[in-house]
């Protein structure tokens, strides 16, 4: 039971990092990306490759993963941010589909469908972090750091620029904001921070393959953000915890037919999301409908 809870805690922390970093662009820049699992995966493959071939030190693995994801995100951001919101969603979906193919086929780097196995545990100044307990602490500390960084950014002049662009692009332009540069920067930061979760995930699981980084993961991360509360500090973490605890919690309800638990879970997700969006579109942590207001200004 303790191992189960620690494992859940690690996964919640890592997915919370993903949700927090996606919320950074969704909630503050108004950029809806369905490619977040790509940066999660890039971080995981890059971190794993470095750990397998070069060094498992966290100070080598994580920065490499961040750099790779940041570089890849530029490929998405540079062309895609020239178009308006809804087209970015389509472009990110394209990248997601493309990336899954590359993850599955580029055997030399990703191990193909079989993935990468035997990834060594992460090493911090000579200490290997492999027990669930110590890894849980590491992932919590990392989550706290990512939250602190995004919080600092959101409250800075950069964050105000992001929010200004989200609220009115034409007004932001009229006040001298270089929208393409600011949006691109936010996507690169978001991808690089998401890659931290990826590299830690690879080291924790010691095995990764493409199935962890497909479209349904991107959708799951987006659902975490929306359900928890887009544009709130705490929402993505609440959303991540809820969506990861729910499957386990359901299996404890003995009156449910255990063989159908997967379908029941899907039905509950769907229903829950629809009901939430109708009655509480700001998410669990977000403002209620009465307060969100549709002012024309």
């Amino acid at each position: 039971m303790e191992a189960y809870l620690l494992n859940l805690g690690v996964l919640i922390s890592l997915y919370a990092i993903l949700a927090v970093t996606l919320n950074f662009i969704m909630g503050y820049a108004g950029i809806y990306s369905l490619a977040h699992a790509v940066f999660f995966g890039t971080g995981a493959y890059a971190g794993a490759s470095v750990a397998l071939n070069f060094s498992a030190s966290i100070f080598v693995m994580v920065p490499t993963a961040m750099l790779c994801a940041a570089a890849l995100s530029l490929l998405l951001a540079l062309p895609a941010l020239r178009v308006r919101g809804e087209y970015f969603v389509a472009a990110s979906l394209g990248l997601q589909v493309l990336a899954v193919t590359v993850f599955a086929e580029w055997k030399a780097v990703t191990g193909g469908i079989g993935g990468l196995i035997g990834i060594p545990p992460v090493d911090i100044a000579g200490f290997e972090i492999y027990s669930p307990g110590s890894f849980f602490i590491l992932s919590l500390v990392t989550l706290a750091a990512v939250v602190a960084i995004t919080r600092l950014l959101v409250r800075s002049s950069f964050g105000r620029s992001l929010k200004a662009i989200r609220d009115s692009e034409s007004a932001a332009l009229a006040f001298g904001k270089n929208i393409a540069l600011i949006k691109t920067t936010s996507v690169v930061i978001s991808a690089a921070l998401a890659a931290i979760a990826g590299s830690l995930y690879a080291a924790y699981m010691s095995f990764i393959n493409v199935e962890s980084f497909m479209l349904d993961t991107s959708v799951l991360i987006m659902a975490m953000v929306i359900i928890g509360g887009t544009g709130t500090q705490l929402g993505p973490i609440v959303g991540a915890a809820l969506l990861l605890i729910l499957p386990g919690a359901l299996s404890y309800l003995s009156f449910l037919p255990q063989t159908e638990i997967g379908s029941i879970q899907q039905i509950l997700y769907g229903l829950g999301m629809a009901v939430l969006m109708i009655f509480r579109p700001g998410g669990i942590v977000g403002r209620g409908r009465a307060e969100t207001g549709e002012g024309e200004a």
Binding site: R160, S161, K163, S168, A174, I182, G231, A297
Partner: protein, 255 residues
């Protein structure tokens, strides 16, 4: 009471030459040539759909022009992006305000002072100075006790003043104001005029779109009259307002 008359016009800030904008077959702006000179308040008047806002959009680069040129202090700014034109010192308001509606009143002001904001890089004066300046602007526009309120939660007149406060916080030399006083109650309207006068005497050059003739008469040094995208007159207020042909167009009597 009026700003008209006794001030000498300074250098030419903006030179508009044969400016044209076509939407399909329709000429929204056709062959407009005019100068905006430092210290002069120019009012753009004309019936709805005359091309006044389109003219603003062409100047600020929010719309690409179809022909003609716009020069700022002698430099052709036709190919620049809106944010680059804004950084030259041309600021504008929007008829529908386009406030940063989910941000607080103070954030709305701070962010216009931070065009270059990139992560962890200082842009412009330090935050303390920006805050002080924002406080000063909010004080003058009567929004000081609303600084923590989201823009969308403001009353109508307060939104109009926030739109003005945003532009006051910039260092722009030329302000393009799109119906900034429409719908204001008499008290707010007096405050608005007083603020505008202060800014003009502090050296700001204003081009304003306005329908209310009292305001037009009260603040204009020049009146430019647009109809169907054409500039029918660009002269001192008396000459334009006393022209019976223009009055007929303005008041809808085309018979």
């Amino acid at each position: 009471m009026t700003m008209n008359g006794a001030r000498n016009a300074g250098e030419t800030l903006l030179e508009i030459r044969h400016l044209e904008k076509r939407f399909g077959g329709v000429k929204a702006v056709a062959d407009v040539t005019m100068d905006l000179r430092a210290g002069i308040v120019t009012t753009l008047v004309g019936p709805n759909g005359a091309g006044k806002t389109t003219l603003f959009n062409l100047i600020t680069g929010h719309l690409p022009r179809s022909g003609g040129s716009v020069r700022w202090l002698g430099r052709d700014i036709g190919g620049l992006k809106p944010y680059q034109i804004a950084r030259l010192g041309i600021a504008r308001t929007f008829q529908d305000l386009r406030l940063f509606s989910e941000m607080t009143v103070e954030e709305n002001i701070l962010t216009v002072m931070e065009p270059n904001a990139l992560p962890f890089r200082l842009s412009g004066p330090p935050l303390k100075e920006r805050r002080a300046r924002a406080g000063h602007v909010l004080e003058r526009t009567g929004l000081a006790d609303k600084r923590a309120v989201r823009a969308m939660d403001l009353a109508y007149a307060e939104r109009k003043f926030l739109s003005l406060a945003r532009i006051m916080a910039t260092d722009a030399r030329l302000w393009l104001l799109d119906e900034p006083a429409s719908g204001l109650d008499p008290h707010s309207y007096e405050l608005f005029l007083a603020l505008l006068r202060e800014e003009v005497s502090a050296g700001v050059t204003v081009c304003i779109i306005e329908h209310n003739l009292d305001i037009v008469i009260g603040i204009s040094d020049r009146i430019a009259f647009l109809d169907h995208g054409r500039l029918l007159a660009d002269d001192d207020p008396k000459t334009v307002l006393e022209d019976p042909a223009l009055a007929a167009i303005y008041f809808g009597d085309r018979s």
